[in-house]
Amino acid sequence: MVVELQTNVQARYNGQSEPVVNDFTLMVATKNGSGSQTSNEVLIRSLFRMGIPVGAKNLFPSNIKGLPTWYSIRASKDGYVARRAVSEIAVAMNELTAAEDIQNLPPGGVCILPKEWKWGQRREDIVYYEVPVKETVAAAAVPADFRDRISNMVYVGVCAQLFSISLDIIRQALLDTFGGKEKPAMMNFGVVERAYNWAAENLEKVDPFRFEPMNETAGKILISGNEAAALGSLFGGMTVAAWYPITPSTSVIDGVLDYRHLRRDPDTGKETVAIVQAEDELAAVGMIIGAGWAGARALTATSGPGISLMAEFVGLAYFAEIPCVIWDITRTGPSTGLPTRTSQGDLLFLYTLSHGDTRHIVLLPASVGECFEFGWRAFDLADTIQTPVFVMSDLDLGMNIWMSDPFAYPEEPIKPGKVLRQEELEAFISEHGEWYRYKDYDSDGIAYRTLPGTDHPRAAYFTRGTGHNEKAAYSERSEDWVNNLIRLHNKFKTASELIPQPVTDYDASKSIGIITYGSNDPAVEEARDLLAADGLETNYLRIRALPLTQDVIDFVLNHKRVYIVENNFDGQMHQILRMEIPQDNRHMVSLALGDTLPMTAQWIQAQITRLERQPVQEK
């Protein structure tokens, strides 16, 4: 194939001399389904083993085989893991995107590509390393079936040589990746080694990029948000998971399948977690509502289209006060949108999901650690508040691999909430002389519930989505309706004290604040450093759940300017903040990206710098 470049050729590469160590991004462009996932994982694991902080972003198409996919690995000695828009190194293995991939390199960048390709034009300001991929694989005498997939190991070997990863570490990483299985690991390693040696003999290193061992990853783990969510849920006492497959949420349930053995009854070998693949999302959410009503800790995981389909049922659960947990791993919408691209576009919709006056709790994890923590905590909250709890993660957080401290064991025992089992009901009735399902005995808006199966003649009550009074009896009376809604309102207020509170870095001397939530956190943290280096000091508040609390409002009001950074198009958190803040809030500036990609620090920095350096226009 012939790679055609646009003609705006930059300055000739001038053999940059200053070495760049552990602070650049390597991007691998391949075709989907070609097996590059494995080689990329080997690369990232190797760097991790070298003690270098790493971040990974997988940009893949909605397709099973053949369309372009990009995997970028950021090494950052300073520990930044957000996406960078620019990659210094491109491993261009997909002829369909090679021209673009090369075009996107910065001056001084590096391109590794198959030797076999022909060229239209060349950029003169970058370095090329041409690699005989086919030959190398052929020489390795790999069984024909494996040849295609294994050819990705060629670039692993070349990169190892060029950027200084030891073969030993690669071997270890291969073993990790293949779950300790020697045979496939060694077959792959054979190709890596061959490529490594070929590169040593045939390539002259002229670029400045290099990895060097550090000690920043010891004791840390590498894991995806969805796996973390699955584990958190398993440690949270989940007993029912019902789901319908949808990208990018499927791997939450895959994680549950992978680790449910942790909860398998050791005596009988039977499962304590029911995993039901439903026929669609309406059924999935119906199942967890049925299960939650019966007393299970029940979860579903889905994405935007599924959320839309769940709207009616979620309203029922809200109004009938049934606990359940719904993970929304968001992708780009509206509509089917881009299933394999990230976004935070469901926020406002989740918050007000279902017709009528409804309002929901939405947890907003920002890290794999929080995915784990909110994984178990969501059940405690749902049971305590007797309501559906949403956890909004996103494709970036959920499907990419992230570095993290090991997860902390839940510091609190499982909280079943106000459930009256047989004896408790007995005790309750002897104390109060009565028990009514929807009566607010504790003035916190939260009533006591019983579970079906409770062997007590007064345990039963009637659950319905229609009007009811305190006694759970059908009622069309206006007063009953209003009283019930008032109690639900109070319950929501109680909830706002129980949900994860915002994380704040505040110093009264600073006049600029940044607010964000979810997976933007690393980009914001990095941007703050960049801004500070440029003389713009910022305070920071990260919202960890809806409804908003007074802290958030105070934070907004206490600044001269507050930037709301989020990854959707409409600036939905900004809108929610406006809904909650009646005071003049023209100093609140929406930085809403929504360009389908994970947030970058550079974008945030550029926006804030631009706006701070010139008078802010009213938005």
Binding site: L222, G237, V276, A283, I414, G453, F462, R464
Partner: protein, 342 residues
């Protein structure tokens, strides 16, 4: 007379019905009450489930001491799936309508039977939307006329045939005017381990009771063709067993033994139908459709197939009753797991 649990029939009642006087659904509620009393159902273990419609309101009118869930329109099956999965000890009795099951809930209905969720699923089939005032449902017959909505020209859906094709393990049809049959079938259904579908023609006296409608009382009374005569013999009921058998001729009876040791004894009538044959069941229903026959009785019965909880290999202890230590692995487990991610 108190039953085995020492309860009277009135203990199994619910709130007074607010349906139209004469509504077929009310007589089904009555049979449910009788069945539960006769079978000495422990009410605390019963859950009553429904969707939305006149029919779906009826769980309020029986077994007031049982938990109930009146869900959203057409989606009760998923609630049933979730609840019975969460707690395998629950006895689920669900009521739905032809609109609830055959229109908006059709997909859930089909997938429920496929999973063999253990429950009794009663369809109170009046061929019309009662609660929204008389629109056609998918079981309305081709050629049927309704006061306001005119003529139905679409073929009607046979929910029993649908259930059998879809994998149901107990499928019966009855007529709310045939109290004895309804009751016997309910008893058998509640003894069945798996999804038991009973499609009961239950006239809507307000919107669809004209004699030419085949979901009406007059039509049902005139045209019902029971496939069998029945006796239901509860588990452990030994004594009068012999006496009952005496009634039937050799070769004309079929004993269907249920999971819990109960039996339904069927005396075959005209059609000689053997409900253990899926092939026969399908054939007879197809014929009934073609010849417009109103066949009632146990249409299909399959030896207990694995129910959903078994497919999922769940613990014997209901998931809702697991002790806390089975709900959360140890700290040690977590630490080891974390190692594996390093």
């Amino acid at each position: 007379m108190p039953n085995a649990l020492g309860l009277e029939r009135t203990d199994y009642k619910g709130a007074p019905s607010t349906l139209c006087p004469g509504c077929g659904h009310d007589s089904i509620s009555n049979q449910i009450i009788s069945m539960a009393y006769d079978m000495s159902l422990p009410m605390h273990r019963v859950i009553k489930l429904s969707g939305i419609g006149c029919s779906s309101k009826t769980p309020a009118y029986f077994m007031g001491r049982s938990h109930a869930f009146n869900a959203v329109h057409g989606r009760m099956p998923s609630i049933a799936t979730g609840a019975t999965t969460a707690n395998r000890d629950l006895i689920a009795i669900a009521v739905s309508g032809d609109g609830d099951t055959g229109s908006i809930g059709f997909g859930q209905f089909k997938h429920l039977v496929r999973r063999n969720v253990p429950m009794v699923y009663i369809i109170e089939n009046n061929g019309v939307y009662g609660l929204t005032k008389g629109q056609f449902s998918a079981t309305s017959d081709e050629g049927q006329r309704l006061k306001y909505y005119g003529l139905n020209e679409l073929p009607s859906i046979d929910l029993c045939l649908e259930a059998i094709i879809g994998g149901a393990t107990f499928v019966a049809r009855s007529f709310s005017g045939d109290a004895k049959q309804v009751q016997t079938l309910l008893k058998a259904a509640v003894s069945h381990r798996g999804t038991a579908i009973i499609d009961i023609i239950s006239p809507c006296v307000t919107f669809n009771n004209a004699p030419d409608s085949n979901k009406s009382y007059p039509y049902g009374k005139e045209h019902e063709i029971p496939l069998h005569e029945y006796d239901f013999i509860p588990a452990g009921y030994v004594q009068p067993y012999e006496e009952i058998t005496a009634d039937y001729e050799e070769g004309q009876t079929i004993d269907v033994e249920m999971h819990d040791g109960s039996r339904i004894r069927l005396k075959k009538l005209d059609k000689g139908h053997d409900p253990r044959s899926r092939h026969q069941a399908i054939t007879i229903l197809e014929q009934a459709q073609r010849e417009q026959l109103f066949l009632t009785g146990l249409l299909y019965y399959e030896e207990p197939r694995q129910v959903l909880g078994e497919t999922l290999q769940l613990t014997d202890t209901p998931l809702t009753d697991l002790p806390k230590e089975k709900l959360r692995p140890s700290k040690d487990t977590l630490d080891k797991l974390m190692q594996s991610f390093m």
